[in-house]
């Protein structure tokens, strides 16, 4: 019996967790595991889990099918595989930054060992790269030849066509002239001449059209790029890039290494120190002493230096999350008290209504530009500004390189995310049930207890519903704000990719689309869970 109840308890615990965390789809899976009405669960699983999966797969297949067939001159729509490839490339970029960062910080034996490792790697990669280059050259040559072969007859045809057309045109010109002469001699009517000219103009158009057809064919062949050539180019490119990366690593392990640079500065300091001891004249002593101090300072400065990371998509993702978090908190801090005030007091609501109504529909882009000026004015010297010095000295956040761009992106997020939270809070507060207020009256609760014990708890579900919308809005706004303000983040990633205009551009933009979407989804889920945690209705209409 106890065994039975224990299992039941585990089951309901699991079901409840699933329910609260918003993954109700897995409900039948759990029930199936515990053997509850297997047939019904299997049916539910097929309907609500398998079907969506199948549907998504169908979408992927359709995407894969349509994408390569949809070409514009600006680029091709990437296939799922290409987007996946973009993901791995971005991941590699990220890994490379990690490698360089760790190389930069290595010292002593570890560094020596790493140098050896990298050197052997370079050797193998270099030979690989040369081989690939050679291959590429042969493929390129053959492709070029093939192209030339394909083009030769067309070009011949084109020039032939052109000469015949030229001749025809010249002939027509002479004919027209003679016809004109005939008109003067009254041997032909003007009507005849006009008809002739009309016809020849039409003929000219036809000729042009024919030429254009061949020209187009030539252009098409010129534009063609065989798959094998593309692949060879990509392989050779990536091998060469890898070699370059390894060489840069070597650099960070040797001359660019932090410990070596520190040692060098220390050496200079100590040699200057011996100079100082042997120095005689006051000028010499002063100069040597100065050198000692400077080099000591330099050594300690270098010892604190961090590897300057190039931004990668994952870094940008974290920074976006941080920015949206700041913006969201700002929005909540402003919106909730104002919302409560509006909800409690109709005069306050009336006062704020015009402001809310006017500012709510303003586009985030406008806010961004405004905040750029407003916030920028507070940081005339951002590098040394105490606020940023403080932020960047924090353990984890410090790595995100907070700067004014981050702050005004966050402010833009806050400005746009403010309204749903504010309006919903006001609504929540003003629609506290009359009975609950009567309870407060009967208990003679003061304003503060009334707020904390009745009004706020009662409006929490609506408040959180508002905050959830706010976060969603904020996340959307942030991407636009970052793109425009060049604040490091996913928005900037998208914008930079667009500016790069490389063959990877569209894959990367689609990749960013998924990353942004998935994060947005996760954020929304978190808010749903929070919202559920504070809501008491739970579907029960009357309490």
């Amino acid at each position: 019996m106890s065994e039975q109840t224990r299992i039941e308890k585990i089951k309901y615990g699991l079901l409840k967790t699933i329910d609260v965390s918003g993954f109700k789809v897995f409900d039948p899976v759990v029930r199936l595991i515990f053997g509850e009405e297997p047939q019904k669960q299997v049916k539910d699983i097929t309907r609500f889990m398998l079907m969506p999966i199948v549907f998504v797969c169908c979408c992927l297949v359709a995407w894969n099918f349509i994408a390569p067939r949809h070409k514009t001159k600006s680029g091709e729509v990437p296939t799922p595989a290409q987007v996946w490839n973009a993901l791995t490339i971005n991941d590699t970029l990220y890994d490379r930054e990690n490698e360089k960062e760790s190389d930069f910080a290595l010292s002593d034996d570890q560094r020596e060992a790493k140098i050896e490792e990298v050197k052997t790697l370079i050797e193998t990669k270099e030979s690989e790269s040369t081989k690939l280059k050679e291959e590429l050259a042969t493929i390129e040559a053959s492709a070029k030849q093939k192209k030339a072969e394909a083009l030769a007859p067309l070009q011949a045809e084109y020039s032939e066509l052109k000469t015949t057309h030229k001749e025809a045109r010249a002939k027509r010109k002479i004919e027209a002239e003679s016809l004109a002469e005939a008109v003067t001699k009254k041997k032909a009517t003007t009507e005849e001449l006009l008809t002739f000219l009309r016809d020849s103009s039409r003929l000219k158009e036809d000729e042009k059209e024919k030429e254009q057809i061949i020209k187009d064919q030539i252009a098409e062949i010129n534009n063609e790029k065989p798959k094998s050539l593309q692949a060879a180019q990509m392989a050779s490119d990536s091998a060469a890039t890898e070699v370059q990366h390894l060489k840069k690593r070597l650099d960070y392990l040797s001359s660019g290494n932090r410990s070596l640079k520190v040692a060098k500065a220390k050496d200079s300091a100590s040699s200057a120190l011996t100079e100082l001891e042997s120095a005689k004249s006051p000028a010499e002593i002063l100069a040597a002493a100065n050198t000692v101090v400077k080099n000591e300072e330099r050594a300690s400065k270098i010892a604190k230096q961090e590897y300057p990371r190039a931004s990668t998509i994952w870094f940008q993702m974290w920074r976006s999350l941080f920015t949206v978090f700041i913006g969201f908190v700002l929005a909540a801090v402003v919106a909730i008290p104002i919302g409560i005030m509006c909800g409690l007091n109709r005069v306050a609501m009336a006062c704020l209504t015009p402001i809310i109504s006017i500012f709510k529909p303003v586009s985030p882009v406008v806010w961004l530009l405004i905040f750029q000026i407003v916030v920028g004015a507070f940081f005339p010297n951002p590098e040394t500004h105490p606020f940023f010095v403080f932020l960047n000295s924090l353990p984890i956040i410090g790595r995100l390189n907070a700067n004014p761009a981050l702050i005004f992106s966050a402010c833009t997020v806050a400005m746009c995310a403010l309204w749903p939270a504010l309006v919903n809070t006001a609504l929540g507060v003003s629609s506290v049930e009359k009975d609950h207020m009567n309870v407060a009256k009967v208990l003679r609760l003061g304003l503060w207890s009334r707020l904390t014990k009745i009004i706020i708890p009662s409006s929490l579900p609506l408040m959180f519903a508002g905050l959830r919308i706010s976060l969603g809005v904020g996340w959307m706004v942030l991407i636009a704000a970052e793109a425009l303000s060049s604040s490091e983040g996913l928005g900037k990633f998208v914008w930079d990719e667009y500016q790069n205009g490389s063959s990877l551009t569209f894959s990367n933009i689609l990749l960013a689309c998924f990353v942004i979407g998935i994060i947005g989804f996760i954020l929304d889920r978190i808010m749903i869970v929070l919202q559920r945690a504070v809501s008491f209705d739970d579907g029960a209409a009357t309490v």
Binding site: K24, P395, I396, G501, S503
Partner: protein, 510 residues
């Protein structure tokens, strides 16, 4: 399970579980969460700035705005016995901005090849979305310096657009721009000038065959639309020069018309470089003048035909400079010299040739520039122009060894005559609304270009053995000799700006 809520979830949940695996692992390590768990204190630390945000902003804003004017530190003794030791830099962590164009190469190379590090500088190179924002970020101190259009420091200093005193001690490159027209316009030009109807037409191509196209448009009540990069960019002046040299009026700026459309037969509007090809394809503009890789991009995608490069418009014309604010230069004289040293080395590295005159380092440079955090375009596309070749059409690849000049011809020296040329163009097209005396041109150029800093850096490099004595014009007065290497053959002498203005038929002549 409720049907209504059950339907949308499985798909999302599926996405979640699929990519979470890939995304979450690097996320964590990115922040080293595994080695440093978030402590309570950290959370407090995090909360504090947010709560104190408004207060902090306000207080700091007031205190900083009240203006603590730093005394300009003693300027570096120019040419006073430099030592092979590193300079005693005032600031060793720097942020430089750039626009995704291949001519930012010296900055990228100086970073990637360790020239900055050799000067004890830790430099971050950050892509900027557009020239306006780049300039703003330099002015507001977010960036220490940036890759700028030659016209930008001058325009900012004289107050056309955002006013701020910007200076430059280093010219990043020469040439490097092209004018591309759409396929339709090219077809019309070919029709107007049958000599162009070959796979490899004779260059330079003037705008004369474009004139009938412009006229046709005007007759139908429209104006041909073309794109350029920025009102004070070299591109704007080059395309105007090219059009005007064939008698097409590109429009004047006036104090009311800041778009420069007055009297225009062709309207030139600002379009960000990356948007040029798509704007061309969609027909918003029929041609543009822009730097690389955007002309080669048009060829690669067969959406347009580059008709000329700015090398043909003015042989070896100055293109981009490295700009900083005057205030920054005054506060960080040694840093400024150190930066210029690194840039000179980068420029020299970029223009290194072997015995046969082949550019040996360009391919490596292209690979570096092709990284997504720099120019990011495809290696192949960047390679075209950077390695000394230029595709005018798919079938028309030409050697243009001087398409990008970074160091040759003593090009990186900040020439006053370059500044004066840009000032004459600003006056010619009405961006400078009032006629100015010749002396003003000279003084303005001298307030923007800082050859002393350049020479100091060069001297140190020569002593260190990184450059040869002949690389640097040691004894120049800052003015290049008069040249008539223009598409229309008009002679330019930087010392006679007013005479130069008079020589042009279109535009202000005084």
């Amino acid at each position: 399970m409720a049907i209504a809520s059950g339907v949308p979830f499985p798909r999302e949940a599926n996405c979640f579980s699929r990519s979470n695996k890939r995304t979450s692992i690097p996320q964590l390590s990115e922040l080293k969460l595994h080695s440093k768990p978030v402590k309570r204190k950290d959370i407090k630390n995090l909360l504090f700035p947010i709560l104190s945000f408004a207060v902090a902003l306000f207080v700091m804003g007031l205190s900083e705005a009240s203006g603590v004017v730093t005394d300009p530190t003693t300027p570096a003794q120019p040419l006073a016995k430099p030592t092979p030791e590193q300079l005693d830099v005032e600031k060793d962590e720097l942020k430089f901005g750039f626009i995704k164009l291949t001519d930012c190469a010296p900055i990228v190379i100086a970073k990637e090849k360790g020239f900055f590090e050799a000067e004890g500088l830790q430099v971050e190179v950050i892509a900027q979305p557009n020239w306006k924002q780049l300039l703003d970020n330099v002015i507001n101190g977010e960036l220490d310096g940036a890759h700028m259009l030659s016209g930008q420091p001058i325009a900012a200093t004289i107050g056309f657009g955002t006013k701020a005193h910007i200076v430059t001690a280093y010219t990043l490159d020469l040439n490097g721009n092209g004018i591309t027209v759409s396929n339709d316009v090219w077809a019309a030009m070919v029709e107007n000038d049958p000599s162009l109807d070959t796979p490899t037409p004779q260059h330079p191509i003037s705008a004369a065959p474009l004139k009938p196209v412009v006229q046709e448009k005007l007759d139908s009540g429209e104006k041909l639309q073309m794109g350029m990069v920025f009102p004070v960019s070299t591109h704007n002046y080059e395309i105007r020069y090219w059009l005007a040299s064939a008698g097409i009026h590109p429009g004047m700026y006036t104090s009311e018309d800041i778009k420069g459309f007055t009297e225009a037969q062709v309207e030139l509007s600002v379009t960000p470089p990356p948007q040029m090809p798509s704007a061309l394809e969609s027909g918003t503009i029929s041609g543009y003048c822009v730097g690389e890789p955007w002309n080669q991009q048009a060829v690669a995608k067969s959406i347009g035909v580059p008709v000329t490069t700015n090398y043909d418009i003015w042989k070896n014309n100055p293109e981009k400079v490295f700009g900083v604010t005057k205030a920054w230069a005054d506060e960080n004289p040694n840093t400024h010299i150190a930066v210029v040293k690194a840039l000179i080395r980068a420029g020299k590295w970029l223009d290194e040739t072997d015995g046969a005159g082949n550019l040996v380092n360009r391919e490596e440079a292209c690979r570096l520039l092709a990284k997504p955090n720099y120019v990011g375009a495809d290696f192949d596309v960047i390679k075209n122009s950077m390695t000394g070749f230029f595709y005018f059409q798919k079938s028309d690849k030409r050697a243009m060894p001087d398409f990008n000049v970074f160091f040759k011809y003593q090009s990186s020296y900040p020439w006053y005559s370059d500044g004066v040329w840009f000032l004459t163009q600003m006056r010619r097209w009405g961006q400078i609304t009032e006629p100015k005396p010749a002396q003003w041109y000279d003084e303005t150029a001298k307030s923007v270009y800082l050859p002393l800093v350049y020479l100091d850096a060069a001297k140190r490099l020569m002593d260190e053995g990184h450059i040869a004595e002949t690389d640097i014009p040691w004894d120049t007065d800052g003015y290049r000799p008069a040249t008539s290497d223009f598409i229309d053959g008009i002679e330019y002498d930087g010392k006679k700006p007013l005479e130069y203005l008079k020589k042009h038929a279109i535009g202000h002549q005084n």
